[in-house]
Amino acid sequence: MTVQMREYGAVTVVKLDGPLTDTDADKLKAELLEIIGRTLGRVALDLSAVSYVDSKGLEALVDVTHQLHQSGKALKLCAANETLRQVLALTDLSTQFEHFEDANSAIRSFL
């Protein structure tokens, strides 16, 4: 999995490319937490190119969103495909995140 970060104004959109699995989860979590601390939580995660998320990847995402919950926020997920949405729904984790159709909508939510 590759991670691509792009700044849209004050918002950092982190685009993942490839399946989010065990080997990448910890690294992604560390990067996201670093960005959250640096940008005061102005982060959106673009999942348009993520085909699959395993339990470790879900755990990383949940840890990050819990970190944001402490300050009354949630991790913003963009363009998650149907498979990911079903995984989040089946694991009852869907409500832990904010969902957006695309990155642009997520960026606008910071206005």
């Binding site: 940008t39 005061l40 348009s48 402490q70 300050s71 009354g72 960026i107 206005l111």
Partner: protein, 617 residues
């Protein structure tokens, strides 16, 4: 008069007090005692009358008996004396004395000699004289100490008078037959005594009950303090039990009050917990500052925005974490002089929008005992960035619109002046006006596209798109321009291209922008190559030019609205700086991406990827 009225009132008061409910029992006891006493007196009087009557009757009976005995004995004595039968007389007298239980029965001569006596030792005349002087006296009756004494005169023919004296004890059997009355009397006395004892005992016991009764009446009147209803425990067991019940009631009241207070505290605590939870969940930072400028409460969002921990913030001086003096002074002022005003301060902690622009809203919190200040912290970084971008966009848009408009106005004036004497110049002016009008049209179109993107109304109208036909149209459009600049424009297409499910116009717009930019920034005799490669799930389109290239610091910014690289060669080429921004937005809306690889003075490669999936996200 006044003293009389006062006396009557006092008497009424005493009577009223006496007839109070708590004295009724005493009155009943008193009345019963009176009735019993009256009955007792009545019985005593009755007994006394019976005794008197009995005594009188006994006396009369004794007298009657003495008279009867005396009369009979007198006649017999006269006969026996007349016959001088002294022995018979003495025998008769002795018999009479014995049979009738006479205390004295004797025959006395006038000289005092006793001829016969019930007690033979008392006889003084042994032999009866032939005659003696003296006459008989009248019959007399005397009483002395329960003794009746009767004297019967005797007349002995031929001898003289004598006297028969009989004394008998009056029978003192007055109590005979009065045993029932005496028994009743005794029982009545005993009953009275028992009643008196009971009354004493009951009065002692009833004093406690009366006091309890009075306390109950007072308790029913209104809400009174339980302690005032207590009675003297010396009044008996009832008073002790009453006081115990009052104590239990007081305990129940105290427990109820404690429960109520505890419930109230618990409810308030729950409310506080709910309020604290709500404050903790706020996306904006919230800080409560006391009069001493110490932080009483800070929610987690405030800790994140101030880049500290909640535990560090609590009880810390606010100036340690909020360095902007305006905020601190506003908080201090709000604490000292509570008002409804508010102070808004926007600050950049380290002077860059990367770390964030924070808006501090300081408001006083009114409290009775102290003044506090509430600081709300809001992260407005993105708003600031968007506002700056909007201002820049408007400025750039105005500039981009003004330039062709100025040219159009200038050449219109020139054409109007040259139209009569210089048709060639007029034609040249009209040609420029035409070009500037098209440029204006393009700029307006691009601004509209950007506006749609900014407003979120940039909608895709997906349809089946034949990419080969689209690329051929692009090649046809830009072929003449390439030939004019002597640039080699080459499209390397695979034998077969898939049909995309995309917005034809938007994809076409993106390709036109990429190929148009490549031609614009590639000098004469250069090369522009478009390579298309098809993977399993995406199409990769590379637009390669041998142009001026893009500096490293400009590569990310060229996709921003109105941004143009700081290169003199770029400035010479007309352009709005919107093309790449729109192209990237279009491709991203299709789920694809545009990246750039470039080397200054050697050329650039724009790589466009698009997913093949029919239902793109």
């Amino acid at each position: 008069m006044t003293s009389e009225i006062g006396g009557v009132k006092k008497l009424l008061a005493i009577c009223t007090g006496f007839l109070r409910r708590d004295n009724i029992s005493a009155i009943v006891t008193f009345l019963i005692s009176m009735v019993v006493a009256i009955c007792l007196v009545n019985t005593a009087v009755s007994i006394w009358r019976n005794i008197t009557f009995q005594k009188d009757l006994e006396k009369k009976t004794s007298i009657h008996n003495v008279r009867a005995v005396g009369s009979a004995l007198a006649k017999a004595t006269e006969s026996l004396l007349a016959a001088n039968e002294l022995s018979m007389l003495r025998l008769a007298v002795a018999e009479a004395g014995t049979q009738h239980q006479l205390k004295c029965c004797r025959v006395v001569l006038p000289d005092g000699g006793i001829v016969a006596d019930a007690d033979p030792s008392c006889i003084t005349v042994k032999k009866l004289p032939e005659s003696w002087a003296g006459n008989s006296k009248a019959c007399t009756e005397t009483f002395a100490s329960n003794t009746v004494m009767c004297s019967f005169p005797l007349q002995v023919p031929g001898r003289g008078g004598a006297l028969l004296e009989i004394a008998a004890a009056v029978d003192s059997q007055a109590w005979v037959g009065l045993e029932p009355q005496a028994a009743q009397m005794s029982i009545a006395c005993l009953g009275l005594a028992v009643l008196w004892l009971l009354h004493r005992h009951a009065r002692f016991r009833l004093r406690g009950i009366g006091a309890i009764h009075q306390a109950l009446l007072e308790a029913s009147d209104a809400e009174v303090d339980v302690t005032t209803l207590e009675v003297d425990p010396k009044l008996g067991q009832e008073a002790v039990i009453w006081n115990k019940l009052l104590g239990e009631k007081q305990g129940i009241q105290i427990r109820a009050a404690i429960d109520q207070v505890r419930e109230s505290i618990q409810k308030k605590s729950e409310d506080d917990r709910g309020l604290a939870a709500a404050c903790d969940a706020l996306p904006h930072g919230l800080i409560l500052v006391g009069e001493n400028m110490r932080i009483h409460y800070a929610n987690p969002a405030a800790a994140v925005l101030l880049q500290a921990r909640c535990s560090e913030l609590t009880n810390a001086d606010v100036s340690q974490f909020i360095t902007d003096k305006r905020v601190v002074e506003a908080a201090h002022g709000a604490s000292d002089y509570p008002t409804y005003g508010r102070t808004i301060v926007e600050t950049e902690p380290d002077g860059s929008t990367t770390s964030g622009v924070l808006r501090f809203i300081v408001r006083p919190v009114r409290r009775e005992d102290s003044g506090m200040a509430m600081i709300i912290i809001e992260d407005i970084t993105q708003k600031k960035v968007a506002e700056a971008a909007r201002k820049s966009f408007l400025g750039q848009a105005a500039h981009e619109l003004r330039t062709p408009l100025s040219n159009i106005r200038l050449y219109v004036e020139s054409a109007m002046e040259d139209c009569k004497h210089d048709p060639l110049a007029t034609g040249r002016s009209l040609n420029i006006i035409n070009e500037e009008s098209r440029r204006l049209e393009r700029v307006v179109s691009q601004i509209l596209s950007v506006s749609e993107i900014e407003a979120g109304s940039f909608q895709l109208k997906r349809d089946d798109v034949r990419l080969d036909a689209l690329l051929q149209a692009v090649e046809a459009d830009y072929g003449p321009q390439a030939r004019d600049k002597q640039i080699t424009l080459k499209f390397n297409l695979p034998p077969k291209l898939p049909i995309l499910h995309a917005d034809r116009d938007k994809i076409s717009l993106a390709l036109h922008n990429l190929v148009g930019n490549a031609l614009k920034y590639t000098p004469q005799k250069g090369h522009v190559t478009v390579n298309i490669a098809v993977d399993t799930d995406q199409i990769r389109i590379e637009v390669i030019d041998t142009g001026i290239g893009i500096a490293l610091e400009d590569r990310d910014k060229i996709f921003e609205n109105f941004y143009r690289a700081r290169d003199e060669r770029v400035a010479k080429v007309t352009g709005s700086g919107l093309g790449l921004s729109i192209a990237r937005e279009v491709i991203e809306l299709h789920g694809g991406d545009i990246t750039v690889e470039s080397e200054l003075d050697k050329g650039s490669t724009f790589i466009l990827t698009l997913p093949i999936t029919e239902e793109a996200p």
